[in-house]
């Protein structure tokens, strides 16, 4: 079910993106809110979907809907092939050595919970250390805290500095006794991109296993799980042009092979008798029950869409646009506007940073800010972004977050700046 290739051929010219053509392929980006064209700057929460993804899901239901791995009739075979070719496409997109190492889940949260329940409850006992970073999303915190409460596992934190950048100066000491390092590849608050390979090497040197939360990385940057030397990688479909309700866990084959099932039920067994069950091989072992097949098909179309444009071209576009945003906001608002996270380099370049901009504007509360921005059709997220430990270090309860993606361009950044100026007027006391 490869569907996107025809759609995007004109949207990329010699490695740079034709953003106008891309925007035109996203139905939601054509709508207006409050009488203004929508300016969608919340892809960090969820991305919009191109027509090819919507079409792929419709076509699935209209033409081949059947349960998979269960019927020997034509459409059931088509459905099974659709799921397995999506698994293969995702495996290639992640640089996985084998598609069988790709387990479908509901989202990144479930992927991490799968590791915590299945690998964690098999391998971790009282006194073992799980090392996290202060940049983590609650999805990569709470499952480990649950394990800590249940097993007496110790949760330890790699700190960040006041600007939200990882502070690795004490890494060696922090790694003492660590069995698992669980780290985000890209912060959903500050845009910081931790040095995953370096962290993985250090963790492996003390015999620890490495889980990477790649939720905010995979949509934006080329991914190679072997270059990271990761052991587990969690991804989520809806932030990378796919539908909600579908995600994946990539895991090293020998680790997955040794792990017990997480959820029990249909599909995940080899045999069941009144006395017990024998689990299936990976990845099926971890895919109990009927999977969200249409969502898997839609995610495949999303991966095709991103691949056709080229993830390198997408990353380059976002780097340029992030630079434009940082410069524009600094020029127009100076000290009235602070951005948490990596700033512009002295020479005006942007390095080592995703297009996630957490803003503090004068003393306007982020919630109020986003409300005024909404009147301009500008969608940003206000809140703690499910990263309360990090917010505490940054010294705020909430930020307004604008996050950029492949379909954003300079006009979106300009609209954000105009709306911010208006918010400043509205709340000028």
């Amino acid at each position: 079910m490869s569907t996107a290739a025809t759609v995007t051929s004109e949207a990329t010219t010699s490695g740079t993106l034709d953003v106008a053509a891309i925007k035109a392929e996203f139905p939601l980006l054509q709508r207006e809110v409050h009488g203004r064209p929508i300016v969608y700057l919340d892809s960090g929460a969820t991305s919009q979907k191109p027509q090819s993804v919507l079409d792929a899901m419709d076509r699935y239901y209209a033409e081949i809907n059947a349960n998979v791995h269960r019927g020997a009739y034509h459409i059931a075979e088509r459905a099974t092939t659709a799921v397995e070719s999506a698994r293969a496409a995702l495996g290639r997109f992640l640089g996985a050595p084998s598609a069988e190492e790709v387990v479908f889940t509901k989202n990144a949260t479930e992927s991490i919970n799968l590791v915590a329940h299945s690998w964690g409850r098999t391998n971790l006992t009282e006194g073992d250390v799980v090392l996290l970073t202060m940049l983590e999303h609650h999805a990569n915190i709470v499952p480990w805290q649950q394990l800590a409460a249940e097993r007496g596992v110790e949760v330890r934190w790699i700190p960040v500095d006041a600007n939200g950048r990882l502070d690795l100066s004490d890494l060696d000491a922090l790694l003492d006794g660590v069995r698992l390092l669980a780290v985000t590849a890209a912060s959903n608050v500050t845009g910081d991109l931790p040095p995953v390979r370096r962290l993985a090497d250090a963790a492996h040197a003390v015999g620890a296993t490495v889980l990477v939360d790649a939720s905010q990385w995979v949509p934006h940057q080329p991914t190679d799980v072997t270059a990271w030397d990761a052991d587990f990688v969690a991804v989520t479909g809806h932030k990378m042009l796919g539908p909600t309700g579908i995600g994946a866990l990539w895991g090293r084959r020998e680790l997955l092979d040794a792990m017990p099932p997480f959820l029990g039920g249909g599909s995940m067994i080899q045999n069941v008798t009144v006395d017990g069950f024998t689990p299936a091989d990976v990845p099926t072992r971890f895919e109990a029950g009927t999977q969200p097949i249409a969502e898997i098909v839609g995610w495949h179309a999303a991966i095709d869409y991103l691949s056709a444009l080229g993830i390198d071209a997408i990353a380059a576009h976002e780097r340029d646009l992030t630079g434009y945003a940082l410069r524009t906001l600094a020029d127009r608002f100076g000290d009235d506007l602070a951005i948490h996270g990596p700033a512009l380099a002295a020479d005006g370049t942007v390095e080592d940073r995703g297009g996630t901009l957490s803003l503090a504007y004068r003393d306007v509360h982020p919630h109020d800010l986003s409300q005024v921005l909404d009147q301009h059709g500008v969608c940003v997220r206000a809140g703690h972004h499910c990263a309360k430990p990090l917010m505490k270090v940054l010294g705020v309860n909430a930020t307004a977050r604008a996050s950029l993606y492949l379909y954003n361009d300079e006009s979106d950044v300009d609209a954000l700046a105009d709306a911010l100026a208006d918010a400043g007027d509205f709340f000028a006391f």
Partner: protein, 169 residues
């Protein structure tokens, strides 16, 4: 279309700029309850001093957006001096006003809100009626009130304890 002026009424902005009854009270004799808005990270503390079944002092701490802060400020002036029963009555009326079940989320944006002063017994608090048109903000407006509810509950527990004739919990 619901515009910003439906949300940010002048009196709301006034309470945001000049919050009433900011501060803390010594606990005990006062009681303190803390509320969080898990969506946006706002937090609020409500301190209550209750004497002879009436709220003799109320203080608000914490931080949050204009809606949560002004709503808490207006709440503090609305319940100061009231008996606990009266305060709970205001609380019930306010939460009724904040419930969206009667309001369509789309379509009836243009329906005029009945926010004339005196349309209910809520007085100035009527200004917050427009929040209902912005469903995400309802939790902001009710944060202080839910916290007040808890603080009242604590006061009642405390007076039971002090009476000393209740069965040990």
């Amino acid at each position: 279309m619901a515009g910003l002026e439906d949300l940010y009424r002048e009196i709301i902005l006034d309470h945001y700029r000049n919050p009433r009854n900011r501060g803390e009270l010594e606990v005990p004799p006062a009681t303190m309850a803390e509320g969080f808005n898990p969506l946006c990270g706002d937090e609020i503390q409500v301190y209550l001093q209750v004497d002879d079944g009436a709220i003799s002092d109320v203080r608000i701490g914490g931080q949050g957006c204009s809606i949560s802060q002004s709503s808490a400020s207006m709440m503090s002036t609305a319940v100061a001096g009231k008996s606990l029963d009266e305060a709970r009555d205001v609380l019930r009326q306010f939460k009724e006003m904040m419930s969206i079940h009667e309001h369509g989320l789309e379509g009836d944006d243009d329906a005029p809100a009945d926010d004339r002063p005196g349309a209910s017994g809520l007085g100035d608090l009527e200004a917050l009626r427009g929040v209902v048109k912005f469903p995400v903000r309802i939790k902001c407006a009710t944060l202080g009130w839910n916290t007040l509810d808890q603080a009242i509950g604590q006061s009642l527990d405390q007076s039971l304890d002090q009476a000393g004739d209740g069965p040990a919990a």
